[in-house]
Structures are given as C-alpha cells and as structure tokens.
Amino acid sequence: MLTFTIRRLLLAIPTLLFISLVIFLLLEASPGDPLGDVPLTVPPEVKERMREALGLGQAWYIRYVLWLKQFFWVEPLYWFDGVFGTQFSSGMQRIISFQSRSPVFDVIAQRVPQTLTVVGFSYLLGVLIALPIGILSAYKQYSWFDQLGTFVSMIGFSMPTFFTGVVLIIIFGVKLQWFPSVYDTTLEVRDWNSFWAQVRQMVMPVTVLALYNAAQISRFMRASMLDNLGQDYVRTARAKGLSERTVVLKHVLRNSLIPVITVIALGLPAVFGGAIITEQVFKVNGLGQLLITAIHGNDIPMVLTLTFIFAILIVLFTLIADILYGILDPRIRYD
C-alpha cells in the first residue's frame, strides 16, 4: 500500500506539470492582451516598459519555469515564513495578479472561506441526504418510494444548477421573501442575529448544490446496494437468523459503501467546478467568481494559478479515492 501511494504520488508530478504546461500554453496562444485596455494615446515605448513590468518581456519557457518556481518554491516558503516567523522568502518575487497588483495567493486566501462554507456544507448535506435514500430505494426495489426516488433524482441531475437556483430565488427570494437572494460575504458571525442571517443566506445556495449532488450519489448508492443485496453472503446471513436490520445495515451497507465512498471522493473537485455557476447565480464572491472576473480581465497569473489549483484538487482526490478503495476493500491489492 505504501509503495503504491508513493508510486502514485511520483506519477502525479509529471501529470501536474503537463497540465500546468497545457494551461500555460493555452493562455500563451490566446490573442488577448493584458494591456488591451491601455489607451491608444500611451506611446509604444511606455507600453513596452509596462509590459516589462508585468513580466511579459521574456520568452514563454522562461516565464513558465519562473511561474513554476514561484508556485512550488516561493509561495510555500512564504507560507512557512508566515507560520514560523522566519525570513527565507524575503526579496523573492511572489505571483502577482495583473488586475489588483497584489499577490495571487492573498486574494485566493480571502475567497477560499466563502467557497468552502457553501460548497463543503452542501456536499456534506448532499451525501447525508443521498445515502438513506439510496439504501431505502434499493432495499424496497420497485416500491413507490423507489419509483419516486428514481424519478426525483433523475429530475435532480437533469435540472442545471443555474436554473434551480434562479427558480428558488424567484420563489423564496422574490415572491415569499423568506431568504435573501444575494449572498452577503461581508457578514461576520458575531451573535445570534448575525448567525441567523448567515444561515438564512446559506439556505438557497446550499439547497441547490446539495440537491444536485444528492441526486447523483443516491443513484450510485442504490446501484451498489442492489449489487450486494443479491449476493450469496446476504442469504447466508439471513439463514443464520440475523435480524434484517443487521443484515442490511451491517453486512450489505458496509460492502456497498466501498465504491460509493470513492465516488464521493472523486466528485469533490467537480463540485468546486460546478460551484462556479452557483456562485455566479447567488453572487457569492468565492473562487469561481474570482476565476470568471480574472478570465474577463485577462489576468493571466490569476487564471493560471486558479486553474492549476483546481487541477491539483482533481489529482489529489483521485489519489485519495484510489487509496481509500484499497484500504476499505482488502481484496484490492495494488502491489
């Protein structure tokens, strides 16, 4: 298991390097110019100096390696300094956003909490809803509960989140006025009142994402339960005289959860991607919103860093899913 993990970690390095190169070259091939908004009256030599100041003067491979160094060496060092009060990174150039002229990672650090509270909470809620539904509808296959659950989950992942979000806003935000339709990120939770306001503004985005995730995970849960319910060991367990509760919740559920847990781990990075849309609907200024403004503003370092962080998340969670699978199912041997 350990050798497998180490091998996979080593394999992840070229993968990530390749992905970063792809994103970098894509940005490089783009016809967009970060100085496109500079007025035409600015003389060309001044424009050239501005270009130098943005670090655009060198050839692309030099800038690429420089960015890699900044991402993997300077930023961790800076973080290390911040934690332990050392001075390793003094004088080193961090990744600077074109738009705000502040370090990219500082901006990202400001945005991460919003995304994490909304996305993380909704994913957790989605899983908590999906598991019981999946278990019940597999146990009572073809019952009205199963039919209804299948139908609702079909609808759940057929309705795009931007539509469910907008419909929820129209119904609960505009007509009934129960919840605010815009997410206020400046809100600080200090007392019960502000906590209540935070809960109220989180209800709609969390519901939208949670329903979407629950729809998918409950389908997986149901299929996996059905696979196991027909197995011989279930009949054996029943023949031994175990109670139905023990058979389903101890024997079948444990075995069915193995593939579902990997699906949950694999889905997590995709949820961050999907949150881009939900954040746009509810005006949450999280990572997704940051990415979209950066793309519109031709902010190359920001786009590159953010997209690469998404890629790291995907590679990391794929690895976690594989390792979890090996740990949970002793029959799987990677070595």
Binding site: V166, V167, L291, I292, H296, V303, T318
Partner: protein, 330 residues
C-alpha cells in the same frame, strides 16, 4: 429398438413435454424449424421491444421527438422572425399575438424559444458526435493494439485530471474573437463551443469502449476471425465495433444531455453565443436581470433545457436496460 422400449421412450418424451409446458418453458425453447418460426428476431428488433417496455423511456422518447419537431418544424408554422424588434410590444405578457409574451425589445418569445432550441439541440448533437467518435476511436485503438494501450490510457487519465469547466471557460473566452472573425460570429462560436465540449468529454466513452474491447478480444469468434487471416482494419470494423455498439450508443445518448447542459452553462456565464443569436441558455441569461418583473422569461427556457435533458437521460436509461439485460432495473 424393441417395441416396449420405444413405448417407454415416447412416454418419457411426453412426460417431459407435459412438465415443461406446465412450467411455461416451451415458449422459451428454440423452435425446431427456425425458418418457419414466424416473426424474425433481429437484435435491434429485440432491443426495440425491450425499450418499449420501459415506460419512462417511451414517454421521454415521445417528448424528445416532440421537442425536436417543435424546434425544427415550429418556425414554419409560427413564422415570426425571432430577431424582429417590435419595441412597442415589449415586455408584453401571454396574449394571442404573442402566446409566450415578448422580451425587453419586443421580440416574440415563442419564436425565440424555437430558434434557441434549434441551436441548443444542434450543439448537443454535434458535440456528442465529436466526443463519441473521438472516444470510440481512442478506446478501440487502445483496446485492440496492445502497444498503443499504455500511452493512450495515460492521455485519457491526463484529460480526466484537467479541470474541465475552467478550461472550457478559458478556451471560449480566448478564442472567440479570432474564430468569429474568420467564420462569422454565430458560426465561429458554434464551431468553438462544439469542438471545445467535444474535446473535453470523450474520456468516459474511451474508457468504456476500451474495457469492452479488451473483453471481446478473448472471445472465440475473434480468434476464429484472426485465424483465417482477417486484416486489422476489417477485424475492427466487422467484428469488434458492432459488438461494442450498445455501450457506445448509451454513452452517446447521455453525452447529448451533458453537452446541452454545458452549452447552456457557458451561455449562462455570458461566454456562449452572441446576444442576437438565441440559445436556451442565452435566453435564460438575458432574462435573469429582469427575473423579478418577468419570471416567466427565465422559467420557460429553463424548463425547456431541463425537460430535454431529462428526456435524454431517460432514453439513455431505457437504452441501457434494453441493451444489457444483466443490469435491468438498476
């Protein structure tokens, strides 16, 4: 054979027949003379029969065909130009002249929904065809030729590790201008979106096809075909491809749904087609600013997107059930 012996044989045969008939197994036995068995049973007819028994899928198929008729034949019946601006009739509600109302420039919503649906479904179908062709090709090659397997599967894993939505956003923003200039704004965006979606969604199909091809390669009929010296291309086209067609078709159906959702998501983020060129996603995006005053303008295109995707998902579900009896009911 002596006479009593034969007598006993016959009675045994009779008894077997009788018990079999009781168990209802006679119908399942192959007929003695296949040529006169009545109805011919081809594989596709069998699948169609199975498919018809899936109620949800049949309803979905009817609705999907209805939607396609609505967007293709509809404009010939409801002949108002979707881009015609009638500023005096702007923001009107449901009426006889405009059954679904008009938008903020007085353009007829019914006509716009038809035109938008045509683009959305065309994007879905074309992107699916690209993704499936690419995916099947890569899956077939990596499953059939052992030497190509490792590099192609590494490539697939690399693509699976790409953050797709951010990359799509990036591709569309960066290359919209140059393509619009060379192919015109509508066609350029269409080519861009379709190829971007196609290039980023072939991986699942490739993996499924590869797995199936690997399994097929161990079968006897492949060995037989190889032993009579069938060349590789005919081997793939005649023997392998027809046998992996059913998973490809299921993946294709579900691919339409993903492509339609992705296109409308891009439109919703303001990165899709130009404003005078409606798609369902674009209509929804345009209406969001005024959703407090005119909620129907948001709900209608959204309903169309959801309904189409729901239908396509159900059809995919029915197809999977019909083509693979082992997983029926999952």
């Amino acid at each position: 054979m002596t006479d009593p012996d034969r007598q006993q044989d016959l009675s045994v045969a009779e008894r077997v027949d009788a018990t079999a008939a009781q168990a209802g197994a006679v119908a399942g036995l192959p007929p003695d003379d296949p040529h006169h068995a009545g109805e011919t049973r081809s594989q596709w007819r069998d699948i169609w029969r199975q498919f018809r028994s899936h109620k949800g899928a049949m309803v979905a198929l009817v609705l999907f065909v209805g939607t396609i008729l609505f967007v293709t034949v509809g404009p010939y019946i409801w002949t108002i130009d979707p881009t015609y601006v009638d500023i005096r009739a702007r923001n009107s509600g449901f009426s006889a002249t405009h059954p679904l109302g008009t938008d903020q420039l007085g353009r007829d919503m019914l006509a716009r929904l038809m035109a938008g649906g045509r683009v959305s479904i065309a994007v879905g179908l074309t992107a699916m065809i690209i993704a499936i062709t690419l995916g099947s090709l890569i899956g077939l090659v990596s499953g059939y030729f052992r030497r190509m397997d490792a590099p192609l599967m590494r490539l697939t894993e690399l693509f699976l590790a790409l953050p797709l939505l951010p990359l799509l956003l990036l591709m569309v923003t960066l290359f919209r201008e140059p393509l619009s200039q060379s192919f015109g704004p509508a066609m350029g965006t269409f080519i861009l979106i379709v190829s971007a979606i196609g290039a980023t969604s072939w991986m699942q199909a490739a993996r499924i096809v590869r797995g199936d091809v690997l399994g097929l390669k161990e079968r006897e009929f492949i060995l037989a075909a190889r032993s009579i010296g069938t060349p590789a291309h005919r081997m793939i086209l005649r023997h392998v491809l027809p046998n992996v067609l059913s998973p490809i078709m299921v993946a294709a159906t579900l691919g339409i749904a993903t492509a339609i959702i992705t296109e409308s998501a891009l439109s919703f983020l303001g990165l899709g087609f130009p404003p005078d060129f409606p798609t369902w996603g674009r209509l929804l995006y345009d209406a969001v600013d005024q959703m407090i005053m005119y909620p129907w303008r948001v709900i209608l295109p959204g309903l169309f997107i959801s309904l189409t995707v729901l239908c396509v998902n159900y059809i995919g579900d029915g197809l999977r059930d019909a083509m693979d009896p082992r997983i029926r009911g999952r």
